[in-house]
Structures are given as C-alpha cells and as structure tokens.
Symmetry: D4
C-alpha cells in the first residue's frame, strides 16, 4: 500500500497509534486504520471532521468522537493513569479546541490531566487565585492565542517544565498565531518549550515523554 504503518511506538505499552487526518482523503484514512486495527493498540486520529468520523464508525464501531477537539479515539485497552499530573491552562474560551486537543490526547496517552481554563492575563486575578493548580502539577501546558502572554506569566510563577501552545485565535497582526508564537519563543521567563501553532497534540505528546521519564524515575528511585 501507499502507507507504511510505523511500529516503533509499541515499545511503550498501550501507546496509541496516531493518524494526522488533514490532507488525507477519507478512503486513505480508512485504509490506514484498517491496517492499524489488526494490531491491539489504541488509535487516535487528529484533525478529524465529523464526516470522517461517520465513515470511521463503520469499520470501528467503538470509535468515540470529540467534536470541539476534532479527535477520534478507539480504545482497545484501558490504560491506567499516571501518578504524575499534567495541568492544561488556557487563556480564553476561544482557545478551547486546542486546549481540549491537548487534554484529551494526554488522557489517551494514559496521563492524569487537570484543566484550568479561561484564566488569561486580561484579568490576572483569575490565575493568581488558582495557584494551587500550578503547585500540584508536574508538567504544565499553557494554551493561549492573541498575544499569548499567559505562558510568560505561568512560567514566571513556577519552576516546572512549561509547554506553550500558541493558538491562531485572534485577527489582524496576529497573523494566524504568529504573534503568540513569537511571544512564547521570546519569553523573559525561562523554562518554556514551544510547539507549533494550534498543536495541542504535540504539546500533549511532549508532556507524555516527560511524564514517562517521571514514572520510570519513581520506579528506579
């Protein structure tokens, strides 16, 4: 076939196979999934439209669709959640799609996830009134559009890995998320690792590699 399914991921138990649906025809996605369904792994499809989901359901009746996050999930095996905690912080309601892509992906990867939403810096008391969330997390994902200053403020408050996801929320000189991206890359607060604009998936994946190390460290001592 035209696609080579990547097997190097099953080193990690229960780690799902992932399909990026954008730019693929529905029948291409179907063909790839058919191949994957022969294995026992969970499957995650990102950037999936509702139409695609309807079609996927025919070959995978247990598939679940998360509309806001545009994710399809097929869980063959329930994964126990990690002891380490991931916190997903977001600026505004308009960032919800990306924040949920991150939170749900992380959950699918077996991570314990908390959410702290709508705490953008336009009203900083909303963040300062919730410092407990920050203190209890091991890793933090900040999701913010417009100017993306939330990442700087969060990283300035903690000494933990902060993964920053700029979103394309905004208009004009926002240039499709460029403004928030540059903010996060140039933050005067250190300790921020940035992923692509709107890449909630990638942020969750990076968080999972950190938490995988944490869980190993717990065992090893």
């Amino acid at each position: 076939g035209f696609a080579k399914v990547d097997n190097h991921r099953d080193l990690r138990n229960g780690f799902p196979e992932v399909i990026y649906c954008a730019g693929k025809t529905a029948s291409e996605v179907e063909a790839i999934m058919t191949e994957m369904l022969k294995q026992d792994n969970n499957i995650l499809a990102t950037r999936a439209s509702k139409e695609l989901y309807q079609q996927v359901k025919k070959i995978a009746p247990t598939a679940v669709y998360y509309e806001r996050a545009r994710l399809i999930m097929i869980e063959k095996e329930v994964i126990a959640k990690t002891k380490s905690k991931l916190l997903v912080v977001s600026g505004g309601t308009s960032d919800l799609a990306v924040a949920e892509e991150a939170a749900l992906t992380a959950s699918a990867l077996g991570i314990k996830v908390e959410r702290l939403y709508d705490v953008g810096v336009a009203g900083i008391h909303r963040l300062l009134g919730n410092l407990d969330y920050l203190n209890e997390a091991n890793v933090i994902i900040t999701v913010a559009g417009m100017e993306g200053a939330l990442a700087s403020v969060v990283a300035g408050l903690v000494d933990k890995p902060v993964i920053a996801v700029p979103t394309s929320v905004g208009y004009g000189s926002n240039f499709g998320g460029l403004a928030a991206l540059l903010t996060m890359l140039n933050s005067c607060a250190s300790g921020i690792g940035v992923v692509n604009i709107d890449n909630g998936f990638g942020a969750a994946y990076l968080a999972s590699t950190i938490i995988l190390q944490l869980e190993k460290a717990r065992k090893e001592g």
Copy 2:
C-alpha cells in the same frame, strides 16, 4: 535652506522643537539648530550621539546630554510640571535606554513623571508589589522588549490609557522588536495604544497630548 523649520508647534506654550538626528549629518543638525535657536522655544534632539553633542555644545553651551537616552536638551525656559502624572514602567535593565528616552522627553514636555523599572513578568511579584504606582498615575507608558508581555499585564490591572513601547531588546526570533510589537498589538487586555519599536520619544509625545487635554479639562471643569 534645505530644511523648513516647523512652527505650528508653538501653539502650545514652551513646547520644545524636536530634531530627529538619525540619518542627518552633523552639519545638517547644526544648521537646523542654528535656525531654531533664533526662537525662544526649548529644543530637544533625539537619537543623538556623544560626538554630535560635542559639536552642538559649541553653538549652544547650555545644552545637556543624556547618554543612556541619546537625548540633547536645550532649555531656554523652565516649564512648570503638570498636575497629571505619567508613570513609565519598564521590564528590564536592558530597556533602560528607551525608558529613559520616554521619561526624559515627557519631563522636557513639562509632565510630572514617575518611574517603575525592572518589573518584568518573569517575576510578577515585583509588579504586584507596586500597584500603588499604577493607581496614582493618569497615564502609563510600558516599555518592554523580548516578548513584551508586561503591557498586557499592566493594562489588565488598570482602567487607564496604557501606551506600549516595544523595544528591540532580545535576539533570534525577536526580529529586532517585532515579537514585542506584535504582543502589544494583539493584547487580550484592552486599552493599549502602541508606538513604534524603541520609540520612547513618540510614547512621551502621545502621553503629553493626553495630559494636555487633562490639564485643560481641569481648568474647564
């Protein structure tokens, strides 16, 4: 001569004539200044090098030079300070040149100026511990480089005009101040008017137009 000195500014009493020195030869600046010195106005020269100052001193012995801010000032007439207050807030020591250009220009324009420096968001307690400064000002200028998030946080805390000056402090994807500029233009906190990168002068000038209105309003009631 090659230059037409602009007289429309003397409508406002004591308002200084301003020369932008970048891209002018020393003898051109001298010629313009000679022309201006025939009037009774104060004179302000921005982006002036130390060498230029040495030469200016010969024709204007009372000229004062502010090295960090690259300003030359010739005060013919002492201007009484306004009742309304301007606060200049800056992110870090590296932004000092621009912050001082703003503060000194405003002072030269007759405005009462306060400074709150080195309160960038990397350690937000430094700003939150100084809210009194914000509360007592009528107009606030925020000067910040790198990602420029300071403007958003300040504007989120007050309901006053905030003038934001991005600086070129930073490197890499900062792109000479573009990162901070876009941050300030796309702020999720409303009430911010942005000026050009490193334009401390322009910020002070805009502040002065607001405070001119305020002083008039005080008189008119």
Copy 3:
C-alpha cells in the same frame, strides 16, 4: 463552567461586559451571556454574526444588532454621555464596518461621539474643509485601510491624542492590513497610538480610558 466571567470591570459604573464572539460556538456564547445576564451590567458582543444574534435574541429579547459593525448590544441601564468628545474619522466607505465598530462601542461605553467619514487623503480637500470637527474633539480615532496615510495627516494637524486603526481594506501588497499598520506605527507625525488591524473595539476602549480620565479631571480640577 469552562468560562470565568471577569468582574473587575464593574469598578466603572455601567461599563458593559464584553464578549469576543469569533472562535466561540453559539452555545458557548449563549452560556457566557446567560451568566452575565444575572448581573445588571450592559453587555456588548463583538464580531457577532447575524445567525448568532438570532439565537441571542431568544435569551435576551431587548438585544439590538448592528449588522455593519457586527455588534450585539444589550442595554440594561442607559448611560449618560460624557462631556468630552470623541471624533471618529474614516478614509473610505469600505472602512465603514470598522469605523462603526469603534463609534458604536464608544457610544455603548457612554462617550459622546461624532463621525467624519470618507475623508481619505486621495482628495485631501475633504479633510481640510472639515477642520472644525478636529478642533472640537478631545480624542480622535482615525480608521483607514489601503496605505492608511490619513492618520499621519490628522496627527499633523492637531495636538490631541490620535488613536489609529488600520483596516484590512485593500489587496495585494496590503497583506491584510499590514501596509496601513506599518504606516501608522512609523508616522512622521507624533502623537499616534496604534491598535490592531480592524480593531475598532480596542480603539474605542482606549479612547474611553482617556475620556474617563478627562471626566475625572473635570471633577477634580
């Protein structure tokens, strides 16, 4: 819920709550508004489509829709207009949506607003023949697309705060409003504070912070 309604604004009496509708689903807007309607504040929703308005009307029958400006307004309390005057100047008919977003938002914020439209520099006599408007205002918003030179010309004629809104009107090397934005940031006329491309709302909000100070100054003397 997913949204934290921001209460720090009711410091200022009658100041409306604001919802930015772009990137929110209709049901999310509805949920936020339902929360807000429990309070006595006026409500303003920007970037609202006609479809959204139809739905909002069901829960807020007194809501008014301004189609050109894409604004929904719910006035619970009539606000007395300020003594200070705001003038909204625009370049061409194509800039009307943004100019009206600014004028109507300012009005909703309780500001006395005048309009001077279609006075772009292609025929500068239209502006020069209306200097009275400029002279009588306390604050001026200039709205212009294409090359946005209007802001420079206006700021060159007055000694008042000029808030410049670049619009995305134009094509080709206009790059979605970038041309007008850069014009306004680099103006050879001082005294201009720039907001984001098409951000009529933000310009009005900044104007309101200035006028709020003016009204206080009138009282304080």
Copy 4:
C-alpha cells in the same frame, strides 16, 4: 574582460553610461571605467564611496563627486536641458541623500530639475503653501521615508505622473524602508509608480523616459 559594457543606450544622444558600484571592487570599477572612457559618452557612477572617487580621479581627472548623493559624474559633453520640468519633493532632511541621487541623476540625464525639500506631512502647511511647484512640473518624484505618506498626499493633489521613492530612513517596524514602500504601493491616490527603496537613480531614470517622450511629442505635435 569580465564585464560586457552595454552599448544599446547610445541610441539616446549624450545619455550617460551608468555603473552601479556597490559590490564591485575598486579595481573592477576602474577596469569598467577605462573601457567606457574610450567612448564619448558621459559617465555616471552610483553608490560610490569617497575612497573610490579618489581612485577614479587618477584615470578621469575631470570627475566630480557628490558626497551626499554618493555619485561620481564625468561629463564629456554638456547636455542641453529639457523644456519639460521634473520636480523632486522630499519629506525630511534625512531623505536628502536619496533625493539628491534623484535630482543629480536627472540633471546628468539632461532634465530641468526643481527641488522642494522638507515638506513632509507632519506639517502639511509646508506642502500646501507650495502648490505652485506641483502645478508647474510635468513629472514629480516624491522621496519619503518613515511612513512615506507624502506620496499619497502629492498624488491626491495633482493629475501628473508621480514617481515614488521610499527611503530606508526610520527604525523599528520601518524594516529598512518596507513601511514606506508598502504605503506607496497601496496608496488610495492613483497615479503613482513606485521604485525600489532608496533608488533615487531609478526614479530619475524613469522620469527621464517620460520626459524623453514629452520632448518628442513637443517636436511631433
């Protein structure tokens, strides 16, 4: 040799050969000039440093150097000036280098040239008080840096070909002349032909092609 001297220009009598000196070593310029000096044409060298001029003088003792415009001229034959008039208008003193490159090049091409300098839009009365200059010209070159709004205002006042030269004068979001370039390309006033940033030479050359046509038209009727 490494360079092929271009002869197709002598169709036009007395039209000078032109060397663009940037990026050429002094000995390369010398070699090209030696070749050209065998012909009877006038010679113009643009972007020439003072050091280069010193060296050129050795092989061409009549060479004249215009420092501000960075031009070397070698006139073998005096060209009669045209009846048609070119006006060079500039915004500020900092634009002088480019304005003079244009004016002196045009002169070298045999064109009658007038200058109207330092009439930028920050004080528009300086331009409006000199409309006679605009009315008497056949072609106008506008030279302006910063936001370059001068071109729009001039083109809005006349029905003549306006050649616009953006300059790199400015800083920050000026991006080396990009701001003025975009302004001129997006002008709401029609009738503007734009050349490259700082390209005074090119503007004069384009003006000369127009005036060449005008002189022919005068003869043909």
Copy 5:
C-alpha cells in the same frame, strides 16, 4: 450621507468617476452611484461582481459589464482617443483579468490601447518576434505573474516608461504576487514604475497621467 463624492477630478474633461467596489455592500455602491449619476461624468466601477452589475443595471440601464476584468462602465459621453499609444503586454493567459482591467480602464480614460498578450519569458521568441509593438508605443504596461521577469526583459529592450503590474497568478512561494512584485521593484533594467499586485486599474491611471502630459506637450510644442 456616509460618502463624500470626490469632484476634483473633473478638471480633466470626460474623466470618469471611479468606485472601488470591494468591501462595499451593494446598497452602498448603489447610493454612491446614484449621487454620481446626477453629474455628467462617465462612471467606472472596479472589482465589481456580476451580482452587483445586475443591481446597478436597474438604476443605470446603459451600464456595460466586462466579466473577465470585473469592470462596470457607464459612458455618458464618448471620449475621443489620444494620439499617444499605450501598449499592454502580458505574460500568460492566467494574467488576462488584470491585463484587461488595465486595457479597458485606459480605454475608458480615452487612451488609444494596443494589446500584446501571452508573450512570457518562458518562450522569449514570442516577445522578440513582436518588437514592433514595443517600438510604436509611447507607454508600456507589463502585466505578469509567477516570477514577473517579463517587466525586466521589456524594460531592457526599450527607452520608454514601463509600468509594471505584478499579478497574484502562481502558488507556493509566490505568496500572492509578492514574488513578481519584488522582481519588478529590483529589476536590473531601469525605467520601471511599479504598482500594487493585481492593480490593473492603477497602472492604467498612471499611464493616463503620462499620456495627458504627452497630449498637452503635442499642443504646446
């Protein structure tokens, strides 16, 4: 009303009023046109959709629509064509919309127009085999997309004013016409005046200002 019809153009006899339709609602265009129809000038509407034309026809039954060029023309008075000739040269069939906008606008402005289409540099023999066209013109407009090299080649062959119109034809790193725009601005061949991407109208307008001068010169001698 919201629009101020610009009368300064009737200095030139028969010169049409021009409406830029993009970003205006149909009823706004209608209102402006109704105002214009009270005068005796011809009317030209650019960037007009077919739907808009249907509506315009109701108030101006003699209006003609040029679909490829998206122009509506209302000729009240037939204008005699000029003696001077304009040549419109284009690179490929995909540039036809812009080339026709230029050619038809120039025609509406009373100019004698020739066309030489589909002579892009990919097959340079097509241009070299048609040098007569170039030789007989007084002014040349070159319309080209993709890399826009046509303008350089044409300007290298003639000593006439060349107006270059980059088009947005192309894809990828063409960036909506930016590639062709930069080509034209940086041409190694001198004598090119550049207008905005896809601005066939502006090119024709600039050509008309040159030809207006030519016609005057013919009369004056």
Copy 6:
C-alpha cells in the same frame, strides 16, 4: 487569439505540450487545447479540476484524468521509457497529491519512474530499510511537507542529483510550505536543487532535463 501556443518544445520528440490550468477559465483552457490538438504532440494539463476534465473530454475523448494529482493527459503517441531511472520519495500520505503530480508527469515525459512513499524521518527505519531504491536511481525527487527534513537525509545518503519539492502539508508556522522550503534551501547536505512549494510538475520537468542529458550521454559515450 489571446494565447500564443509555444512550439519551441517539439525539438524533443514526443515531449508533451503543457497547460497550467489554475487561473484560466474553462473556455480558455478549451480554446488552447483545441489549438494544441491540431498538432501531434501529447498534451498534459496540470492543476485541473474534475469539472474541467468533464469538459475537456468532450473535445478530447481519449483524455485521462488523475484525480489525486489533478492532471489531465492526452497521449497521441506512446513514448518509450528511458533507461535512466527516476525515484520519487515522499514523506507521508498527505504529500501524495504532489508526489503523484511528479511521478505521473515524469512518466508522461517518457521517464522510467519508481516510487518510495511514506518514509518520512519521524520513523527513519522506513527509509534506511529501503536503501536499494536510492542506490538504483539516477535522479531522486524528494517530496515532503511539514519540516521537509527528508530531503536532507536522502541527500546525505547518496551522491546523486536530489530534486526537493516542499509541500504545503502542515499548519501554523508551516506558513503554507515555507518551513519545508527553507529547510530544503538551507540543507546541510549538498546536492539539492529546490523547486517551488507543491511544484511536482517542475520537479519532474527538471528531472527530465537531466535524464535527457543522460540518455544522450549513453549514446555519445
């Protein structure tokens, strides 16, 4: 007619005429094709929609449509395949449209083509396990979106001409293929010639000019 069909290509036997359909109306394509069909050459139409194909079929019943690659082919004469081999390597399934445009165009140009798809660097074992493909090819086209690192890795493994096609697959800071384009231009591995984003056609054409030389060299010795 408006289009000048380019005949200089029939120097090479059986080489197809090529039409770029984007930006042409269906009737324009039809007119050009009608002209071409009078000759004996094969015809290739790129960027063709299914609708266009339906219409083309009416005048050229033997036309074949490749939907994924958006190509129409009319083969009048079967061309023997070359001895030299072209390998088309692609990163992911989302790049299929561009990879197939390249592979099918090359085939239509008479070249022997192999495909190695879905071997992106996210799982580099997929490429390393297929080195035979690389070793047996004379020329390699690499097609990759997102960050386009595949081109560097391939060029680092072979000493053959590598033609790199960035695709617009991706989102956010991918900026429509810019990320992959810059990667390919700045590759630390030498021996890469880059074509425009998504330009599978151009890559195949360049490959064909190389292979044409190879076939000649085989004959000449």
Copy 7:
C-alpha cells in the same frame, strides 16, 4: 537602584542567579552583580564579552570565563550533580558556541551532562553509530543551524523529551536562524519543545526544570 534583583529562585537550593548581559552597560552589570554577591547564590552571566569579564573579575576574583559560550560563572558553592542525565547533541562545529552555552549552563545548574557533537544529518552514520548516547539520556537537547533537521531525526529515534535549539548558523534564506526554527516547530516527529534561536541558556533551563521533577520523583517514588 534601577534593577530589582529577583529572589524567588532561591526556593531551589544552589540555583544560580542569572544576568543577561546583552544591552546592558558594563557598569549596570557590575551594579547588579555587586547586589547579588551579597547573597550566597552562585551567579551566571550570559552573553558576556571578554571585556566585561575583565571588569567583573575585579569585583569577583573567582569568576571563570568560558569564551566560546560567552558565559561568566561565579561558583560560591559546589552543587552535587543529578542522577538524571542530559545529553547535548549538536550538528556541526559552527554550532559550538550555542551547544556549549547549553552544556555549561546545565552543568552550572547541577545537572550531569554528556556531549555528542558534530553529528549533523549530512552524514547520518555519525548519529546512527552513537545511539547509546541517546538511549542513556533522560533528556536531550539538540542544537542545530542551517536547516536544523537533526532535531527531527533525533526525536524520531527516541521517546524522551527533546529540547530543540535552532542556531543562527547559516546564511541567505536561513534568515538568521528562522529556517532551523521553523523546521523544529513543524517537525513530523513529535515530542519536541523549541526554544528561541541561539538560546542555549533557555534550553538548559528547561532541561533543568524537567530534571528537577525527575530527582523529586526518584525521592517520592
């Protein structure tokens, strides 16, 4: 004083105070350092020139200078190294300055650091022959200029957090590191957190936040 030394970092034992020297005058750095030296913390100064070091030595005689990395270090207290390991991987010798800034900073933060240098993808066997390094690390920093493909290849080989630092090594369309930055943000391999161009310090700081969590997890179990 003008600077507010930030104390919130001493939560973490032995964690050094950090000064960013770019854009500060030597006497400003000295003043800040004098303040810091009153505490018991280690001190790290980044982007420090040799001249600055000479001056610092006078007030801090134990200061050590790392020329290639432009770092000054003042160790008051020796910090025990962590059990968790950081690997710094770099593409070429030209990236050494940034790689060493990362490695030395991490060391100063108490982290056990390994180096794997000069393994860029132009000769991928150099990386593939050293997989042990990758397997034994807990966190990996990849430093690469030009096209920066190294980050993708590394992240494709491991399931660990990869921190990617683009460098400004390169020229032309590299645009000062933009090419490598975009590569890293758009990587088809997941699990990459990106920091600013040339920001070796920031990468090390982020790594330290991860390893701080790891060390805690080892203790907690």
Copy 8:
C-alpha cells in the same frame, strides 16, 4: 575532538573534503584541517577570509587562495577534467564572488567549466549573442542578483538542467537576496533547480552530482 570528519565522500575518487569556515574559529578550522591532511584527499575551504588563509598556509604550504571567491584549495592529487561541460552564466560584475565560488568549486571537483559573465537581462542582446555557450553545455549554473530574471530567460532558451543561484547583490526590497530567490523559485520557465542565496558552492556540488551521472552513463552506454 569536537569534530567528526566525514569519510563517506571518498567513495568518489579524488572528491575533495570540504570545510565551511563561517562561524568557526581559526583554531577550529586548523584542527579539522590537520585531521584531513592525514588523508590523501584534496581539501576545499569555503567562506574563508584572507587572515584564515595566512594561518592555513603554515600547516599546508601548497594551499592556494582565491580572494574574490573566498576559497582555499589544497590539491594533493590532480583530477582529470570531465567530458561533460558545465557553463556558469552570471548577470553582472557584482555577482562575481558567487559565480567564481561556483566555477572554482566545480573545477576543484574535476568538472570542465566555461564562464559567460555579465550578460544580465538589462541588455538581453549580450545573452542572445552568445547562444553557442548555452548550446554546448550539459549543465548550466545561472548566478544573478537584483531580480534574478536571468535564470528564467536562460531556462526558457534551453532544455537542459539549469541550476539557479540567487545572490544578495542589490538593496532595499531585495531583502538580502530574497527577491532573486523568489524569482527563481517561481519561474514561468520550467527546469530550474534553486539553491540558497549566494550558495555558489552548493550549485557546483549539485552540478557535479549530475555530471558524475553523465560520466557513468557515457561508460555504461
């Protein structure tokens, strides 16, 4: 040591080792060269300053320096020139540095090289009068700055692989070679492979991979 000398290139007999000197200290270059000198390969160092050469000469007395091209060459073994011919075409004298980097590198790689310089499109007769050069080459490298149209014209005249090198020659909206780069990527003439701005080395290397294939094809038949 810090550098891993890459041996995979000696597959090709006599092929030189290459060092990119930019961003390396002199002692780093020396260390790498010392390592290389232990082998029998020829050595090529690009982007080398004269100062570096002086130092290299001490350890490699036979090293030759080409100043214009900034190349150091150490030939241990004379390589026979290929039968296939490479033509290097350049636009103007200012492009000489890059053209010579290409020509000399190709020569060092054992390729027979011809030069056709100073034939830019501003005077296209210079190119058209030298078609023999184009006809006799197997591969063509075109080197051009400013707008870079030369590549399109050459590729439109031949059916051979054309490698295009944009140079940074120019100013203003040339943006350091971006204008020529985009021109070459968007050429309406097919068959062009583009390398990085000023990358004469890379163009020669790519040409050598093609000619290596040609020489093999001659032998294989």
